[in-house]
Amino acid sequence: MKRAKRTIKALLIAAAGVACCFGVPQAQAGTTITGAGATFPYPVYSKWAYSYNKDTGVRLNYQSIGSGGGIKQIKARTVDFGASDAPMKPEEMNKAGLMQFPMIMGGVVPVVNIHGIAAGQLKLSAANLADIYLGKITKWNDPRIAADNAGLKLPAEDITVVHRADGSGTTWIFTNYLTKVSSEWKEKVGNDKAVQWPVGLGGKGNEGVAAFVGKVDGAIGYVEYAYALQNKMASVLLKNRNGNFVAPTAGNFQAAAAGADWSHAEGYYMVLTDQPGANSWPITGASFILMYKQQARAVQAKEVLKFFDWSYRNGGKAAMELDYVPMPDAVVKMVEATWRHEIKDSAGKAIW
């Protein structure tokens, strides 16, 4: 009898504890907003979320399950927003009732492992990069590469091409660039988050590509800018649309974004690869947020937008510390105007 009483008491205490944990946040400030998608912006989103939580008490629960997963989750309405590295086509968005806007930018950087060649030494033209990935240029001392690299000693080594094995927004941006600069690539391979690679090895994630490039002599791969920088990999100089050889730097990514005409891009469907401009890095890309135009839970949707607004305004420094590129102010203004006339509650009233 005594034991039974004690058990009941313990159960009651436990129940009270559970009620505490679940009940209080609903009653008080601690709102949680949820998102899922792209892995590429995850470090910067989580840093923003941390600072935002300290400022406002609102928590962000972001699951970096990949862009494809993010699109699936937002379509199933299990999250408040989805995130994708590849922009969604306007037709597809309209069909699903979604809208998108760019949140952060970054660049994709070809990196090499050639004996005696350091970062910023090897120059590659767009055609040569495409031909390497098509398997048409197979040696580093190929005359076509040498033509751009007078004074650089190129070894007679086999080129080992490394690509991503997993589906990835990074691959989408990279193959988008190759599709634009090489008609043969466009015909034979195409542009997607995963493609049928003509040659090479596949590494899982940026770290997998980096590891293969690091281990195999004569390898070339492509990784996100932040990854190349933090791992001190030998990046190459690429010839951009204006014919200049440019280095992958934050300034050159912004140059590519600044030249882009966002105001005429329907649904922000804008790909920043191969943009004009003297300094534009040719393989630049933006990461996008997807939300429903009609929001049944207006209060929650407003919290989400407040977080992104805060991030646009206060997140630039944190982004640059992590080697991402914040969106230019002009684009931010446009995005917030879009929120105002596109995101509505169920009564049709603007939320932002």
Binding site: D166, W197, K215
Partner: protein, 307 residues
């Protein structure tokens, strides 16, 4: 009376519970087949039987074929068994028969502990330790001496089918070796002593008494290891090279079913793409099933012959 009643009820309850657990396995098994079959319908519908023989894997055009992952799965597993079976038999014999008594327990435990290492650790080790070793020493040597064979062709990258096979070897040795050791220990002492008494050498006793006696158990151990090798995911993904190219060379990168799934599932957003990946899962399920079924059949038949 009360006593017997309780006993009957207790027994009934116990039997019911265990039957429920056992039925659970069967239910999960069939549910898995049904779900895999259902979810892979779009792909089965679109590609039909050619899914198994097509070497294309093109997400852009949504043209998928499972040939390369199937070949990769079978090749890496075959390589692993090729190395692991003799090594494991040797280890088991040493532990059961030849090692001094004080060495057996710690050595046996060490082997069993190898089985407890998470597979991702094997993968990392394969990528950071084994693959440079393969690229710099093993593959150049093989190429210099046996390079005329198509199996040792191509650049020595250290990443590819052979390395994947070796990592798998290491992973399945603990399973095969520890089970085989237990089987060798079960060989009746009198049989062995009789054989030694007839003047047999250790090798003869092993070959003619211990291995035939434990044949069924050893085969079971091998299939246990093979099951693990067929489905191993992370360790293989790290070192197999994840490339959709067919090649005779075991230096060349390839792909296995499990590593394809691990790599591509999260980002597969087209209906046919996702369904093709699920059909790959179904194929792996069938491969494992067929292999185990054939093994059972073979065991039963070989026993029938003995009788």
């Amino acid at each position: 009376m009360n006593q017997t009643n309780r006993k009957v009820w207790g027994d009934l309850l116990f039997r019911g519970l265990t039957a429920l657990f056992a039925a659970g396995i069967a239910v999960i098994f069939f549910a898995m087949i049904v779900v895999l079959w259902q979810q892979s319908q779009p792909s089965i519908h679109k590609f039909g039987f050619s899914f198994l023989t097509n070497a294309d894997w093109n997400p852009v055009l949504e043209k998928f074929g499972a040939l390369i992952p199937i070949v990769g799965t079978l090749t890496s597993t075959a390589l692993a068994l090729l190395f692991a079976i003799p090594l494991s038999l040797g280890i088991a014999l040493f532990l059961a028969e030849l090692a001094p008594a004080w060495l057996r327990a710690p050595f046996g435990t060490a082997i069993e502990l190898l089985a407890a290492i998470p597979s991702i650790v094997y993968g990392m080790w394969g990528l950071f330790v084994l693959s440079p070793l393969m690229a710099d020493h093993v593959q150049p040597w093989l190429k210099a001496h046996f390079g005329f064979l198509p199996f040792f062709d191509g650049p020595c990258m250290g990443i590819g089918m052979l390395t994947a096979g070796l990592v798998l070897t290491l992973m399945i040795i603990p399973f095969i070796a520890s089970v085989t050791r237990d089987i060798f220990l079960m060989v009746p002492q009198s049989l062995k002593e009789a054989a030694y008494g007839m003047g047999g050498t250790t090798w003869e006793v092993v070959r003619d008494i211990m291995i035939p006696y434990g044949k069924k158990g050893i085969a079971g151990a091998v299939f246990l290891g093979m099951g693990r090798a067929l489905g191993e995911t992370m360790a293989v993904t790290f070192v197999i090279g994840n490339a959709y190219h067919l090649s005779w060379s075991i230096f060349a990168p390839g792909n296995s079913i499990a590593s394809t799934l691990a790599n591509e599932f999260t980002e597969a957003d087209g209906v046919v793409y996702l369904s093709s990946l699920i059909e790959l899962g179904l194929v792996l399920f069938l491969i494992t099933f067929t292999v185990l079924g054939l093994a059972q059949l073979w065991l039963r038949r070989s026993q029938g012959v003995k009788k």
